[in-house]
Amino acid sequence: MSDQNAEMSRMRGLMLVAGREIRVRGLSRANVISLIVTVVIVGILAALPAIIGDDGPTEVGLAGANAPAMEAQLEAVGDYETTVYDDADGAEQAVADGEVEAAVADGKLYSEDGVDAELQAVLDSAWQAASVEANLAAAGLTPEESQQALATESLESVTLSEGGVNSTLDYFAGLIISIVMFMMLMTPVQYIAMGVVEEKSSRIVEILLTSLKPWQLLGGKVIGLGVISLINLVAMVAVGLGVAAGTGRLDSLPDGMASAALSSIGWWLVAFALFGTLAGGVGSLVSRQEDAGSVLTPLIMSLTLSYLGAIFLLNAPTSTFAQILSIVPPFSGITMPTRMAITDVPAWEIALALGLLAAAAVGALALGATLYKRSVLYTGSRLKLTEALKRAA
């Protein structure tokens, strides 16, 4: 048999194992139900802004002398829809009928039961600008001259510490990334360990190993569960974005959200390779499903710590601790993409974190595969890590 054929049959073995995982686990009732539930929740969350409707353009009624100037001002601010009425009474009626949220006419602000601080501030400053313009015109300035006199630059923000928090939306982007990363690692990692123990406790591994190498068996499992997680994620993102687009809220997503999401997938792949193979390796140390929890504890702990670290980091993204936390593997798998979403991270830190995480993943692959190879055929009480490493393959 030629090398090429042997290579092909090796890949085929790997893919067959992955395919079985996808068919059996991906199409299992538990997975399908949980996917449907998540997708429905994501859909509802994405539709929420449109349903509540507090995010759409605010409708403001205008009347009186300053109305055209106010209209121009509010248009410049954006996100306000103005209607000009013939007189103050018309504007007042429009508020009473609920046609507009608030109305400004002849120096009075009409509303049903007061307006929120933001609207008040916007209307105040628009009113003031319009009044100043009117006063200047009364003092004999042409509209061009008065515009020149009013032209001001808005404040430029200068932060002294490098990379501050960008905005509340970035905070939420970071929060969502950390939660999704955590879930996308936690679930498949547990399934991988359970699958390994299932094959071991049912002894089927002995037949499998007559036609597969241990690395194919472990690798196929990790790939299969990885694909299931990705499919679940893609379904969630597609439904979320689809609903947002359908309700016309797509452009209110923070800038760079798409690129942050994409780079998170890259981070996830590396972190998943690390946690997934380790889960397979430690899973092979036990022979009974009941013992799987105890060997998985260190992995679940580090995942939980990574997540908690990410939450801490969201609240203090520029601290030294956050900096270290987002570089040290395996925590960097979740903490770095979170930090990248909320603040600007120097390129060298990203490169260092990725390099370290990748190196750790390679180490985990070697360790996980070795553990698996040495202990997968061993039955009986739980193997200690050191015993497993001492065993001959």
Binding site: S9, S202, I204, I207, L209, L377
Partner: protein
């Protein structure tokens, strides 16, 4: 031809195999027998590449056995294993594919086997919902699905009802008739006697007897059984070492023609033949030596 050559294997202080050799020709059914813990499972696992030997080798058709060839072998481990939550048909076909069949071939072969094993109606059931005996049949199907070139079966008959034993026996004979070497271990020596062309007896990691069934029987033949219709006691008259077994005389180490002459003179001889030991007796003899 499959040859297992001089296998040695220790587990810590336990010597499981101490120079075990055996072979199976194409079409030959070899019975592998031995007491509990003698080393049968260990030897078969090494032959299937599931366990590494300390020394020794497995030779197939004159060359060391490689992974690709081994994928065309059929194996039934002593500790049975199936995916409990996978459908019977899917599971058998999956193993066919793992052994290198295309999806379509694997499906076709699965359908044929299920038909043969009377399991067609259970094709869509999860394996865990089958009875133990039916799970055994599925296990057999898993080891046969890819039309294996060689069969290595560790206690394939344990846990089967008499009908399933027949199905299994027929399946083995069929594969052998198609030219496959077949090696199986068993504690049911009557089955071994009925199915096997040759027998290998292992004790404490060493081969203590092996050969064709006739050879082994001939080698162990010692006693001449004589039954004579007479009231007289012939013990003193017959030559050689004579023992009574009920009405019969068991004669050892004497000229059979002389025994016949004396017996015929005493009365009507109703039985005169060398006792053929059963494989079970040969086994007992061999392991207690």
């Amino acid at each position: 031809m499959l040859e297992i050559k001089d296998l040695k294997k220790r587990f810590g202080d336990t010597v499981a195999l101490d120079g075990v050799s055996l072979s199976a020709e194409p079409g030959e059914v070899v019975g592998f027998v031995g007491a509990n813990g003698a080393g049968k499972t260990t030897a078969m696992r090494i032959a299937m590449g599931v366990l590494a030997a300390d020394s020794g080798e497995i030779v197939y058709n004159g060359a060391p056995l490689g992974t690709e060839q081994r994928r065309r072998f059929g194996y039934m481990p002593s500790e049975r294993g199936l995916y409990p939550k996978m459908k019977t048909g899917d599971q058998i076909a999956y193993f066919g594919e793992l052994h290198g069949m295309s999806r379509a071939e694997a499906k076709r072969s699965t359908a044929e086997l299920l038909e043969q094993l009377n399991l067609t109606g259970r094709i869509g059931d999860n394996v865990q919902d089958l009875s133990l005996g039916n799970q055994q049949r599925v296990q057999l199907a898993v080891s046969l699905v890819h039309d294996p070139e060689v069969l290595i079966l560790d206690e394939p008959f344990s846990g089967l009802d008499p009908i399933a034993v027949d199905v299994m026996g027929t399946a083995l004979k069929e594969r052998a008739a198609a030219g496959a070497p077949v090696i199986f271990s068993s504690h049911q020596l009557d089955l071994v006697e009925r199915l096997c062309d040759s027998v290998v007896i292992i004790g404490a990691g060493k081969i203590i007897a092996s050969g064709s069934v006739e050879e082994l029987k001939a080698r162990e033949v010692k006693q001449l059984r004589v039954r004579v219709d007479t009231a007289e006691d012939l013990t003193a008259q017959l030559p050689g070492k004579v023992e009574r077994d009920g009405e019969d005389y068991l004669v050892e180490g004497a000229d059979d023609q002389e025994v016949l002459r004396i017996a015929a003179a005493a009365g009507r001889v109703t039985h005169f033949a060398y006792d053929q030991p059963t494989i079970a007796e040969i086994f007992r003899e061999a392991v207690t030596k």
